[in-house]
């Protein structure tokens, strides 16, 4: 990685009353990255973002922005700008005044403000609403104002706090694409905070998954999905079947284990296992079939369908295998048959052990 634009080093934040919001976090974020801080609510991701912006100061650690430790620099002197969750668009100013505000208070000449504001509004496609007041605009439009207002400052890093959480589903999808497009055109590092894994997976180039104030894993979206480091990450990113396994033997990279759901099988791993482990397998990597599937090395088991949920393009099937529930995603690839799976059916569930993962933490 090239010289990081932001380097968070051993940052902790403890609030009065002994709550540790952020616990010894270290992250390097490179120039031009679309970086996501992902985690359940209360995991410390927003606090971390606010420390990067300067709205919060760390209890210990360094926050190096553009080569300078800015852990205690006030927000108005940092090369970062934030898009707030509530948008925080100034209600008494027009769109134009809102966007120009950050330039005006820092003494940019009026003529330059005018051109830069026009450019920024063009970029977020709001040029025709420049004279509007925020109370005459929709949530999506107000968010664009907030975006333009931050981008017009040409920050080194743009911080986005749950930017899509207040939008409805359709608008959210559009805005995701828009944000990705914007990030590519302006070439500014984006750091986004979100609790929505779809949002993080679809937009970010790298993701830090946070749990209880600490970083659980930093990786690209596909790495996180296919190679989660531990149970928390596997469970938080997408859906997963976690099978408790007892390890019978390990020879080099091959582990032989036994699970209640799928019996005894061998699986490859880099990890060194103790006597127990967890086998993680995604629902779409499980196959359902009426007859016994054939194929070398397939792990298979008989299961009773307990529930079928129809989602249009897929159906999510829950099946009982040896007393534990397995979740299987079935593609509905024909119009007439649907998934063809019904409650109470006894079917074969199979998977290729290469698609499963051994987790030890």
């Amino acid at each position: 990685m090239s010289e990081p634009i932001i380097s968070i080093r051993n940052v902790s934040k403890r609030f009065a009353g002994g709550v540790t919001a952020v616990d010894n976090v270290s992250i390097d974020i490179a120039q031009n990255e679309f970086f996501a801080l992902l985690g359940p609510s209360g995991c410390g991701k927003t606090t971390l973002l606010r420390m990067i912006s300067g709205l919060e100061t760390p209890t210990e650690g360094q926050i190096i922005i553009g080569g300078q430790d800015m852990a205690f620099t006030p927000p108005n002197l940092r090369p970062t700008n934030m898009v707030f969750q509530s948008y925080a668009v100034f209600p008494h100013m027009t769109v134009e005044q809102n966007v120009g505000y950050g330039l005006k208070v820092t003494g940019v000449p009026a003529a330059e403000i005018k051109t830069r504001v026009a450019e920024a509004l063009e970029m977020v496609k709001l040029a025709h609403l420049a004279a509007r007041k925020p109370d005459q605009m929709s949530g999506g439009q107000r968010q664009r104002v907030a975006l333009a207002r931050a981008l017009v400052k040409r920050p080194k890093v743009l911080l986005l706090d749950e930017p899509l959480s207040a939008l409805d589903a359709k608008l959210r999808d559009d805005m995701r694409m828009e944000l990705t497009r914007l990030q590519q055109t302006v070439g500014i590092t984006f750091i986004i905070v979100t609790h929505d894994q779809d949002e993080a997976l679809s937009m970010a180039s790298r993701i830090a998954v946070m749990d209880k104030g600490a970083v659980a894993q930093i990786a690209t979206p596909s790495e996180l999905y296919e190679h989660p480091r531990n149970k928390f990450v596997a469970d938080f990113i997408g859906k997963v079947n976690l099978l408790d396994a007892s390890v019978l033997s390990q020879k080099g990279k091959t582990v032989t284990c036994e699970t209640k759901a799928a019996g005894k099988f061998a699986i490859e791993t880099d990890k060194t296992c103790g006597s127990t482990a967890t086998i993680a397998i995604r629902p779409e990597k499980l196959k359902l079939s009426a007859s016994e599937p054939k194929g070398a090395g397939l792990v298979k088991t008989k299961a009773t369908v307990r529930d079928v949920a129809y989602y249009g393009d897929t159906s999510h099937v829950v099946a009982d295998a040896g007393g534990s529930d397995l979740e299987i995603n079935v593609q509905n690839d024909s119009r007439t048959g649907g998934s063809g799976v019904e409650r109470g059916q006894k079917l074969w569930v199979s998977f290729n052990p290469e698609d499963a993962l051994v987790l030890t933490e």
């Binding site: 108005n76 700008n81 934030m82 925080a88 209600p91 505000y101 907030a146 931050a150």
Partner: protein, 280 residues
């Protein structure tokens, strides 16, 4: 059940029932009959309680009555000055109470609001004693106008700024702190944020509070009486003296003018408030 609704009548459509309309009218009559008769008789040709014909004479006489004119200009001067100071003071008090945490804050908040409920007579006596013992009462007597009114101005600021503080404080509760953070994040200093974000948000409450202070000051009688020296007469005090000596329609005329002044102040304030909506 006999209570059936007629077609097109909503269950809460009470306002269309005759007895409710009659009640509304009675309430209005009760509220405004005294004021209306005051205004009407300000145009009466003589000072009997009977209508004898229309004239503007009372207004001309009141205007030319130096004592009334002097008292009215005193009142308005006092009201304007004390409004400015109590708005600033009240706004700052509200900000302090909203923004900071400090020991005994609850107690402080209570004490700030106390003058609102303390009987005026007590406050009047207290102020009177203060001005007398401090020598201020005697000292200001010879000062040039409007400095000879300074006792009254002090007294009016003292009793009206808590009203401003309460009004502004309740508006600040609805302030979105992220607006303040956004301002700083965009490069504004603390002071720029205060001027550009917080003040505009507080403005409707400052206007409303200021208006309250203005009208409170304009018609205050009790506290003014106790804190004014012999030379400094305000309009309500003057009127009181005139009424004691007998009915005169000049009083009605001057009062009507006062009503107009307050009314137009209110209208202007409402106009000013209209564009600034809530801050979310």
């Amino acid at each position: 059940m006999s209570a059936q609704l007629k077609p097109g009548q909503g269950p809460l459509d009470y306002a269309r029932r005759p007895w409710i309309i009659a009640l509304f009218a009675l309430v209005l009559l009760f509220l405004y009959a005294p004021i209306a008769s005051l205004i009407v008789f300000s145009f009466n040709v003589d000072k009997s309680g009977v209508w004898h014909g229309f004239t503007f004479m009372n207004y001309v006489k009141a205007w030319n009555n130096e004592q009334i004119f002097y008292a009215l200009s005193n009142s308005i001067t006092i009201a304007l000055i004390s409004t400015v100071f109590s708005t600033i003071l009240g706004g700052m008090t509200a900000l302090t109470l909203w923004r900071f945490r400090f020991p005994f804050k609850t107690a402080y908040e209570g004490f700030v609001a106390l003058p609102i409920v303390v009987p005026e007579i007590c406050m009047g006596i207290a102020l009177s004693m203060f001005f007398n013992y401090s020598g201020l009462m005697a000292a200001v007597r010879d000062w040039v106008w409007p400095f000879n009114l300074i006792n009254i101005i002090f007294a009016h600021i003292a009793f009206s700024f808590p009203f401003v503080a309460v009004v502004v404080r309740s508006r600040l509760v609805g302030f979105n702190r992220q607006l303040e953070e956004a301002s700083k994040d965009l490069g504004a200093t603390e002071f720029q944020t205060f001027i550009n974000v917080l003040i505009p948000f507080m403005m409707p409450a400052l206007v409303a509070g200021g208006l309250l202070a203005f009208t409170l000051s304009l018609d205050d009688f009790v506290i003014t009486l106790f804190s004014s020296g012999p030379g400094s007469v305000t309009f309500p005090v003057k009127i009181y003296g005139m009424v004691k000596r007998g009915v005169d329609m000049q009083i009605n005329a001057a009062s009507t003018v006062l009503i107009l002044v307050t009314l137009s102040a209110t209208l202007i304030a409402m106009k000013l408030q209209a564009p600034a909506k809530s801050g979310h």
